[in-house]
C-alpha cells in the first residue's frame, strides 16, 4: 500500500503537469519521459505491461537523486484500493503520462498554437443557434 505522501505527490504532479508547470522531456528510451526539479531530484514516468492484467499496462514513476540513483519506484498497482482525485490511481497516472508525452513530444505546444490560430473572437460568444427557416420541425 502506497503511503499518503505518494498520493499527495501524484495529485500535485497531475495538477502541475496539467497546468504546464512540469517540464517533461524525452529521454533516450522511447516512451520514457523525465522531469527534473531544482533541489536535486528528478523523476521519470513510463508504462510497462501490467503484472495483474494480461492486456493492460501499469504506469510507473521512478524517482532519482542528484547522483542519478533510483531512490523510489512505484506504479499505479501499488496504491491498492486508494483513490486519487476520486478515481482509480491508474486513471490519474495515465493522464499524467499522456500529458508528459504530449509535453515532451511538443504536441501540447502544437495544440495550443493551432487553437490560437483557429480561434476567433466570435468563439467566445455563447453558441446560440439561430432558427433556420428551411428546417421544418416535423
Amino acid at each position: 500500500m502506497a503511503d499518503d505522501k505518494l498520493i499527495k505527490l501524484i495529485e500535485l504532479l497531475a495538477k502541475r503537469s496539467d497546468q504546464g508547470k512540469v517540464r517533461w522531456e524525452k529521454t533516450l528510451d522511447d516512451g520514457v519521459f523525465q522531469a527534473a526539479f531544482s533541489e536535486g531530484f528528478s523523476m521519470r514516468i513510463s508504462e510497462r505491461p501490467s503484472e495483474t492484467e494480461p492486456e493492460g499496462t501499469d504506469v510507473v514513476v521512478t524517482l532519482y537523486n542528484e547522483e542519478g540513483e533510483v531512490i523510489e519506484r512505484f506504479s499505479d498497482a501499488d496504491f491498492g484500493g486508494a483513490k486519487i482525485f476520486g478515481k482509480h490511481p491508474y486513471q490519474t497516472m495515465k493522464e499524467i503520462y499522456t500529458t508528459a508525452r504530449r509535453t515532451a513530444m511538443g504536441a501540447a505546444k502544437a495544440i495550443d498554437t493551432i487553437i490560437g490560430e483557429l480561434h476567433e473572437p466570435e468563439d467566445d460568444q455563447p453558441d446560440v443557434r439561430t432558427p433556420n427557416d428551411d428546417e421544418v420541425p416535423f
Binding site: K26, T27, D29, A36, S38, E39, S42, E66
Partner: protein, 98 residues
C-alpha cells in the same frame, strides 16, 4: 564525433561535460531554480548517454538509434546554451552596475 562514429572518445567527453555541469549547478548561487532543474535534467540525460555508449563499446558495437541520441544531445545543448546566455547577461549587468 557521433556522426564520425568515433564512439571510443565519447564517454570521457560526457564525463567531463557532466562534471562541468555539476560545477556550474553547485557553484552559482544566482542560478534560478528553473535553471538548476534544467541542468540536473541535462546531467541525467548525459549520464544515460554515457552508459549507453559504454555498453555499446563493451559489445564492440555502436549505440542503437544514433539519431535519437543526437537529438537528445542537441536538445540538451540548446537548453544549456540558453542558461549560459542568461548567466552571461547577468554577469554583464553586474559588471556594468546596471
Amino acid at each position: 564525433m557521433h556522426r564520425l562514429d568515433i564512439w571510443s572518445l565519447l564517454p570521457d567527453r560526457y564525463s567531463s561535460l557532466k562534471r562541468l555541469l555539476v560545477t556550474i549547478r553547485s557553484s552559482n548561487a544566482n542560478l534560478l531554480p528553473k535553471h538548476r532543474a534544467v541542468l540536473l535534467g541535462a546531467i541525467q540525460q548525459f549520464s544515460d548517454i554515457e552508459k549507453k555508449v559504454e555498453r555499446a563499446l563493451a559489445n564492440h558495437s555502436s549505440p542503437s538509434n544514433v539519431a535519437k541520441l543526437n537529438e537528445i544531445v542537441s536538445l540538451q545543448l540548446d537548453h544549456i546554451n540558453e542558461i549560459l546566455a542568461a548567466l552571461r547577461q547577468e554577469i554583464g549587468i553586474e559588471k556594468n552596475g546596471r
